[in-house]
């Protein structure tokens, strides 16, 4: 089962976060974050609500600004320079809890928009690419519908395909399944597992611990804006070190 988790990871550094701090006004959301992600790594981030998980991954593609420390993505330093931000955003895909598909565009248009306008791909090529990824997430037949006509699980898979169309080197997921019904969770997780098998570098904020065991090669536990503990999934679940991790795991695995 955990064969994905055993997959090899390269030495190449994909994301390097050094001593990063972030405040919302006077509220210190992220404290001294140090994190290195290698190319091909699959990282699951968990932790109690309000611990700053979303904020952390949103800092990586500059949806949020950090005030201290440095974030480097694929060798590009994230600064207020718009050129760098755009470069990083086109290399980092992101999936949101509420999908955030564009409701006024058809599924196909949702997928081709960024390749056409950001990558300047010719329309025809972009559509072929889009159909390729729609097949990958197993809904090519929905291409001409609008997002509002799809189920939640289908919408989230479209959102994943939309990110993939930009052929990102890194994918960020912010609780991609927590707005879904149980039977839809599986179809989205299956898509993500496939993505992991293809060697995609992934950072997932999720509370799907089965997914973490199966796919992740590192689980990160956050609390009060800090990375409290990180370890391989087996170690993390069977032998948590800090009392806060133990408490958290007993709460979410307990019932």
């Amino acid at each position: 089962m955990a064969e994905v988790a055993k997959m090899q990871v390269s030495d190449e550094v994909a994301i390097s976060i050094r001593n990063m701090n972030k405040w919302y006004g006077t509220f210190h959301v992220l404290r001294d974050i140090d994190l290195t992600v290698h190319q091909g790594e699959r990282i699951v981030v968990c932790g109690p609500s309000g611990s700053g998980k979303s904020t952390l991954i949103r800092c990586i593609n500059a949806l949020e600004e950090h005030q201290q420390g440095s974030i480097e993505v694929d060798g590009t330093l994230l600064s207020s320079d718009l050129k760098n931000i755009d470069k990083i955003r086109s290399e980092v895909g992101m999936c949101f809890q509420h999908f955030n598909l564009f409701p006024h565009l058809s599924i196909l248009e949702n997928l081709t928009l960024a390749p056409i306008w950001v990558r300047k791909t010719p329309k025809k090529e972009a559509e072929e690419l889009a159909m390729h990824y729609l097949e990958k997430v197993k809904i090519p037949d929905q291409a001409n519908k609008f997002p509002g006509q799809l189920s939640g699980g289908q919408q989230q898979r479209v959102a994943i395909a939309r990110s993939l169309c930009m052929q990102p080197r890194i994918m960020l997921f912010d609780e991609p399944t927590s707005a879904l019904d149980p039977e839809m969770i599986k179809e989205v997780l299956d898509t993500m597992i496939e993505l992991a098998e293809d060697g995609m570098t992934m950072i997932c904020v999720t509370h799907e611990m089965g997914f973490a065991r199966q796919v992740a090669n590192r689980v990160i536990f956050m609390d009060e804006g800090q990375i409290v503990e990180q370890n391989e999934p087996e170690e993390f679940f069977n032998n948590p070190q800090s009392p806060r991790t133990q408490l958290f795991l007993s709460q979410i695995l307990g019932h």
Partner: protein, 432 residues
């Protein structure tokens, strides 16, 4: 009961019996009347009262309308024909028809020019309003303002042509640089247009193009419903883009731009349109270089456009605020830059939400064009109050004229409203 095949059962009907018609008290007009007009005591009373009210209105107005006189040279002649009976003097409409539509100074032999412009307006507007039509038609839409200007005002074709060429060059320059940098492309485009217009000033004087010319009609000779239409169409089409720019500017992260937009919007909204029109008619000439004598029509267009763009900006701001933050984030996370995100993701949705509000402003604007009558422009209302009612022939006639004006405005405004409802249905893709 599993074996019901034909061989085992004596008789099996293979088709279902067609349903018999419901009894007449359960369907058809009788049922409709019972359900909708006389469903209860209160409902029945209201129905009877409504019928009474309708009867009273119609019993007074119908004889007046049906007995109307359509052919008479003056009010007194009309009264003679009526000979004491109730009846309307619609003759004033037929006798002053051209004045109502074109004003009293526009040369009669040139009426065909604004009339052509009016008909072509529909051709030009069609591809904008109905975007299922082929996109090639938009080329004509682009040419239309220059063509309409030339038709209505006349003069050498040179000027509208140069204006058009300047804009085409600006557009080409903009498209060429757009992929690199939106703001730079915008600036370069504007610059190239200005250069062309400036250079044309030198060639213009002795150009052969000056010869190709229609008889010129000065702005002060425009009037009637034509003037209302011209003001309405020009101001609506100018104030929509300006309103969008103001709404976006108001949200800008650059404080300088934001404050300019906020001050502009708040100031314009706080001032009555009449005041702005008076400013246009008397004071605005101070702001332009002496002797340049910017046309009164243009000054009025500027004022009405500013006025309604402030309102449209606020309507669109509402639409922008109604969009979930996730739409901005999704656009950002895909790497779209600000102009792309606005143009492709945010504005299409925000404008769709804003349609009812924008239509509200557009309808209001169109009706407000009648206010120019107070700064002595002879629009339709100005014509009625001035030259027509003040004439000895038609002194004392009101209902017929203002009723006609009301009808004309109603038709246009109702048309706009119907269009917007169609548009909302057509754009409903979110299936919420």
């Amino acid at each position: 009961m599993s074996d019901t095949s034909a061989s085992a059962v004596a008789f099996v009907r293979t088709e279902s019996v067609p349903a018999s018609a419901p009894p007449s008290n359960a369907a058809g007009p009788v049922k409709w009347v019972k359900d909708n007009l006389f469903a209860g005591v209160g409902n029945s009373i209201l129905t009877v009262l409504a019928i009474l009210a309708i009867y009273m209105v119609l019993s007074k107005s119908m004889p007046w309308i049906l007995n109307g006189v359509w052919d008479a040279p003056s009010l007194s002649a009309c009264r003679e024909i009526l000979n004491g009976e109730t009846g309307a003097c619609f003759a004033v409409l037929s006798e002053r028809w051209n004045q109502l539509l074109f004003g009293f100074k526009y040369p009669a032999e040139l009426y065909w020019r604004p009339a052509t412009a009016f008909v072509l307006l529909f051709v030009a507007a069609a591809p904008v309003l109905f975007f299922d039509l082929p996109r090639k038609l938009l080329i004509f839409t682009g040419l239309y303002p220059f063509l309409a200007f030339w038709l209505i005002w006349g003069g050498p074709i040179f000027y509208p042509l140069i204006a058009l060429i300047g804009l085409i060059v600006a557009y080409k320059v903009f498209v060429a640089f757009e992929k690199n940098n939106f703001t730079m492309a915008l600036g370069l485009g504007a610059l190239s247009a200005i250069v062309i217009w400036y250079l044309s000033g030198f060639v213009g004087e002795n150009s052969a193009l000056l010869a190709l010319s229609l008889e010129a009609v000065p702005s002060r000779d425009l009037g009637g419903f034509m003037l209302n239409m011209m003001l309405g169409v020009t101001c609506v089409s100018l104030s929509l883009p300006l309103g969008i720019a103001l709404a976006l500017g108001r949200q800008s992260s650059m404080p300088f731009i934001r404050y300019i937009c906020v001050i502009f919007i708040e100031f314009i909204r706080g001032v009555p349109l009449i005041t702005l029109l008076f400013v246009a008619s008397v004071m605005l000439s101070y702001f332009f270089p002496p002797g340049s004598g910017v046309d009164l029509f243009i000054r009025v267009v500027i004022m009405i456009t500013m006025f309604s763009s402030a309102y449209i900006a606020e309507v669109i701001r509402g639409g922008l605020a109604a969009l979930p933050k996730g739409q901005y984030e999704a656009a950002d996370s895909l790497g779209l830059d600000y102009p792309q995100a606005m143009r492709l993701i945010i504005l299409p949705q925000a404008l769709k939400i804003s349609i009812p509000g924008i239509v509200n402003v557009a309808v209001g604007l169109f009706k407000d064009t009648t206010l120019v009558s107070v700064i002595s422009m002879f629009d339709m209302i100005g014509m009625i109050r001035g030259p027509i009612v003040a004439s000895t022939d038609w002194n004392g006639i009101y209902w017929e004229l203002f009723g006609f004006a009301a009808l004309l405005f109603f038709v246009v405004c109702y048309g706009i409203s119907q269009y917007s409802q169609w548009l909302e249905r057509r754009l409903a893709t979110d299936h919420r």
